[in-house]
Symmetry: C2
Subunit: 425 residues, 2 copies
Amino acid sequence: AYQRHAHDFFMPEALREELQKKAEATFQVMPNSQLPTLDNYHTLVALDTSHRKSAAVFSYPSWVYKATSIKNGHMYTLRRLEGYRLTNERAIRSVKDWRRVNCGGVVSVIDAFTTRAFGDSSLIFVTNYHPLSKTLVEHHFTSTNRYGNRVSQAVPEPVLWSYVVQIASAIKAVHAASLAVRCMDPSKVILTDKGRIRLNACAVLDVVKFDAQRPLAELQQEDFIHFGKLILSIATNNLAVMTSPTLLGFVDQLSRTYTAEFRDTVVWLLTPAQTPGIKTVGELLSGISTHVVDVFDNSLHANDTLYSELNREVENGRIARLLMKLGTINERPEYEGNPQWSEQDGRYVIKMFRDFLFHQVDAEGKPVIDMGHIISCLNKVDAGSQEKITLTARDDQNIFVVSYNEIKKQVNAAWAELQKPSMRR
Amino acid sequence: AYQRHAHDFFMPEALREELQKKAEATFQVMPNSQLPTLDNYHTLVALDTSHRKSAAVFSYPSWVYKATSIKNGHMYTLRRLEGYRLTNERAIRSVKDWRRVNCGGVVSVIDAFTTRAFGDSSLIFVTNYHPLSKTLVEHHFTSTNRYGNRVSQAVPEPVLWSYVVQIASAIKAVHAASLAVRCMDPSKVILTDKGRIRLNACAVLDVVKFDAQRPLAELQQEDFIHFGKLILSIATNNLAVMTSPTLLGFVDQLSRTYTAEFRDTVVWLLTPAQTPGIKTVGELLSGISTHVVDVFDNSLHANDTLYSELNREVENGRIARLLMKLGTINERPEYEGNPQWSEQDGRYVIKMFRDFLFHQVDAEGKPVIDMGHIISCLNKVDAGSQEKITLTARDDQNIFVVSYNEIKKQVNAAWAELQKPSMRR
Ligand SMILES: Nc1ncnc2c1ncn2[C@@H]1O[C@H](COP(=O)(O)OP(=O)(O)OP(=O)(O)O)[C@@H](O)[C@H]1O
Ligand SMILES: Nc1ncnc2c1ncn2[C@@H]1O[C@H](COP(=O)(O)OP(=O)(O)OP(=O)(O)O)[C@@H](O)[C@H]1O
Ligand SMILES: [Mg+2]
Ligand SMILES: [Mg+2]
């Protein structure tokens, strides 16, 4: 027969480590931070990995911080545009339309406001926080070999298709909300989990370039061209694509590494529609539908994995809870002035069960260290199993035969007693 | 400032309950089962919810069991075809092609064999086990009102599209592996998680109808018609669709509740291609691509939810592990003949930490019961925090100021000592 072992109860190290690192990043604070506290956000931590002041994307230098909301204690990301002065109140109101976009491929926009807390006039965008995310620039354009030279490895075509599908899906949601992405620079698309990308910094250009009042249809058509450039730059491993006046040379490079279908898709994106015609994301999606389905199936598989890991972990939650109850009851120095409390009545059984659980020894008195035993006993208590066990007192004077269910009842009774308001006479 | 509470560490009740019920279903056994043990599978538990013996789908009555693999201890589902006699060895070998199909919308086929263990000659198909799944018949055709009459509620169109997309994706994988689904009866499609469906009982007809030797292309074309009937029967809430010689009346009903696009898709599925033309799943997918993307985005959202729940839960695993170590060390009656072991050297600090962790009292000596305190202390030990705490012995004689990191070291040292081979002199 099959025995469950401790490692069955814990998730694979790689996933655990990833989650662990993300938790650390989330809770990390900077002890002597010079950053201000804002009206609704405190404990700002800079997320920018370089101090390079660049106004290339938004025409204003921008800085990114993690911060804690005063209202609900959750973490958010703040993007600050340095030196921005709001001239038209309506500009900032355009952000509220973005709140309606709820799409797995778009970093959710929460709010925007101006502040003088940084000693200048700054514009702040609040978005969801995705711990340890990297921009596509950081992910694809910064790997160096051991001599410090940048190595450019061709990105596998399935990864590129997955990007194409995810961004197409994001654009669909954005265009359906009568908005345009506007900004699809490789530094403004972030990788949040394995293979998952999201459009970042949405809404910023809507505010900053509000006065230009460009028609939505025009901006949406432009999105396809930005999309094409983004994919082309990653596929050719060349950021010059983003600013190059001619793209022909880059497109030609694609044929060396990628299929004609991929190349044609990029060309479709880069080619403006013959006016008065327009391109739609529906058209794109229908053309690449088999890739959409492949990425969809990957996502289902990822779901299945997460679900079964969660299944495994939820057991740990129940076990941890029960262990905390046991720890709180056992060896309690005194309760309501009674130093014997933890060994009296039902608590005596709990004490014997504690020894049964933790202090098993073999025939030679050697400790038997088996988390599998501990876990399976705790699971049976938690489930209130009718199975009976024999508990022996340390002095061998008392022997009890009790079911796990009785132990469960005693634990809950003692736990309830500890929580009731003091009755001390 | 924001304080983390115990409930922050545990997942929402609904999801927890679902996982809990699935775990119970997985581990449930039938004490006095009359079911046999097979060569490689033991502890069979019947999954059929009725004793109705029906040969309608496979020409043989079939029964479904959950069973444990002797080889790896995992659970699988066995489908037994009663009274089947294998006449051609090659028939059963066709199952191995199915092992290559790895798709989120198909229940994975593991193996097939014949057995006499049930007292007859039976054919067994081994597939993955999905706890608490329901067939689409059970899910959509068996809800009754409080008078016991069947109620038929129209299935919302987004649910139907989600089914269409999932099945189309499954068919894509099956056809790409040079196979055909063949069997798409509503009783042979199962709902495994919220909204997730999977084609079940694949491979069965390949074996049972092996001798007919029908061409693959013909079977694949037939898949579209079966697919159309399946969706039509759910949309009209009428199982008669599956056997009716004419479907026109049913198709007409669709327009009352559903969009023209949905109706047209069903009609496309039901209409055979003009020979010598063929229909392909690619054609279908490109026609419904916007729905594919919608279902894809739902799946990404589901992923995000699972991921963040997992993030929350992973802490429990570390906490449970640490609590088990502490339990094993504290109050150990003796070690290598030394009854003082658990209170000597570094263990003395561990004992004091135990009191700090579990036995806090307020100014009046009343227990302070706060899982948040326990969890946060354990997290700091686990992370080896340099933060210092003051531990006081019960007799107030000894006061130690130690960092969580020192406690961590002591715990690991004691744990290692308990695990080393006996040194008893
Ligand atoms: N929503 C977010 N959640 C978590 N991290 C984020 C988020 N948005 C951005 N970041 C991270 O913050 C860092 C800075 O982002 P930013 O957009 O400023 O990129 P950059 O490379 O500094 O570009 P620029 O030169 O335009 O400032 C990146 O590492 C990015 O991954
Ligand atoms: N792979 C599986 N994992 C978990 N449960 C399954 C699996 N396959 C089938 N089941 C469950 O077993 C039960 C019986 O399935 P079965 O296919 O026999 O349906 P049925 O309604 O009994 O149809 P039939 O009349 O053809 O036997 C259903 O409740 C189904 O959800
Ligand atoms: Mg920056
Ligand atoms: Mg059955």
